[in-house]
Symmetry: C2
Subunit: 243 residues, 2 copies
DNA sequence: GCACACCTTTCTGTATACAAGTTGGTATGC
DNA sequence: GCATACCAACTTGTATACAGAAAGGTGTGC
């Protein structure tokens, strides 16, 4: 009877974790920002214990760093890091596509994706953030369909880590439309068991998204840099951003 | 001046973490075993705080599970899980080999590996555990040489998780010798930029190791099962082991 | 003898107290 | 005026105290 009564009280640490991650994603906590456990605890109205638990999780996921007895820091942006993540993502997804194409039985697992992406242009959605989320799910479902749950888990982790910059894609309608076309082409290639073609298409699709994000990120960070200099903040975070 | 004075006192939580992992690896903590934070804390002579930190890390690495307000449990063996890890490992290593073969410049990064593995048979080592460790490093260095540090990190995680069953390989001299031959063949194929051949050889090498471990694991777990039934322990952990 | 309810114990989740160390500012000596 | 040393405030790391919930044993009613 108390199954839904305890709907919210469970997992204080989890709540802090999600909140902090959202703060980082929304740039309320900027790359390079330093803060203490007490600050967070007071701001969230909890004790240090769940805050520390949340911070350790974020540290393990490479969002923050602990400075020995001298506070925490939001990890500065590192382009090389994101490039590498994109790279691994491509490798895993191409492997998933190969598994799917070489799979003997039906590919009914892909039905959902087909009905979502292979639609006439008038039925296509055009809301940037919505399509961005759909794009994430497309790639995740592709890997899940390959049947290796550990591969799917690792790919999911990559997706999480890339989200902070990936959602900068889909800010322009042409990218939304291109995404529909590219997903459709990939799905058709898989359904026709054309391994090489499907991999080439997928690789190209990810590469385009990556390039788009790369452009936007550079732009965005230059703006952030300008803001920082305006506020005469010490430029430590920006140094590393540009570096 | 106190740089080396604080050699050991640092990181109590880290120490507990390593100790617990070792306990799991050495089967002092058997799959399915249940325990509480207090038990560990008292046994290690510390408070619950660092124990909890260590347990959360182990939980994230899929070694243990927390049962809501009812203790912790060493994760039961799951063959499917290890099979999947092997699979992802193969995918990453094959991708690394491709990168290496398609790399334009010199492959001097592989010099260390060549000098270690491409030796006449009288210079080969034959101590099982030693070669097992060398084998781990061989595969890790192969991926590191590909130049993507995130890929290397993920591969390293896989290696860690697989170690508990992987070291069961190399218990017989023929496997040691075969490992030398196979590593040598892989390296030569890479140095000659034969992508396909290198991948096929590597895939076969991992597959052989996997099969060997599979056989030994089944044997070992049947023994554990027999022991458990002898002690008339409830068979929960063994059920999942065989299942 | 069986079933159900209560109660005690034990568990994790959270808050707080204490210890050890770093940092930055200030005061003092020159 | 500058450099150095000391001190106070603040930080994380660790230990302990408390709260709420789950589990298992025990006792009672039938």
């Amino acid at each position: 009877m108390n199954a839904r009564a305890t709907k919210k009280t469970e997992n204080l640490a989890e709540r802090i974790y999600l909140q902090l991650k959202q703060d980082i994603f929304d740039f309320r906590l900027m790359p390079g920002d330093r803060f203490s456990e007490n600050e967070i605890a007071e701001r969230m109205g909890v004790s240090r214990t769940p805050v520390r638990e949340a911070l350790f999780r974020l540290q393990r996921e490479a969002y923050v760093d602990v400075l020995y007895r001298s506070g925490w820091q939001v990890k500065p942006f590192d382009f090389k890091y994101f490039e590498e993540l994109y790279d691994v993502r491509t490798i895993l997804e191409c492997a998933a596509v190969r598994k799917l194409c070489e799979h003997d039985g039906e590919l009914s697992k892909l039905d959902d994706l087909v009905s979502q992406w292979c639609v006439p242009s008038e039925q296509r959605l055009d809301d940037g953030p919505v399509v961005s989320g759909m794009d994430e799910r497309f790639h995740e479902k592709l890997v899940e369909a390959a049947g290796n749950s550990e591969m799917a888990r690792i790919h999911h982790d990559l997706t999480e880590r890339l989200r902070i910059i990936r959602r900068l894609d889909f800010t322009k309608p042409p990218r939304v439309d291109a995404t529909y076309n590219e997903h459709q082409a990939v799905l058709e290639a898989i359904l026709h068991r054309r391994v090489e073609q499907a991999q080439i298409l997928l690789r190209a699709h990810i590469e385009e998204s990556r390039n788009e994000v790369r452009k936007i990120t550079v732009h965005m960070l230059h703006e952030a840099s300008a803001r920082s200099q305006l506020h005469s903040v010490e430029a430590s975070s920006i140094d590393r951003i540009d570096g």
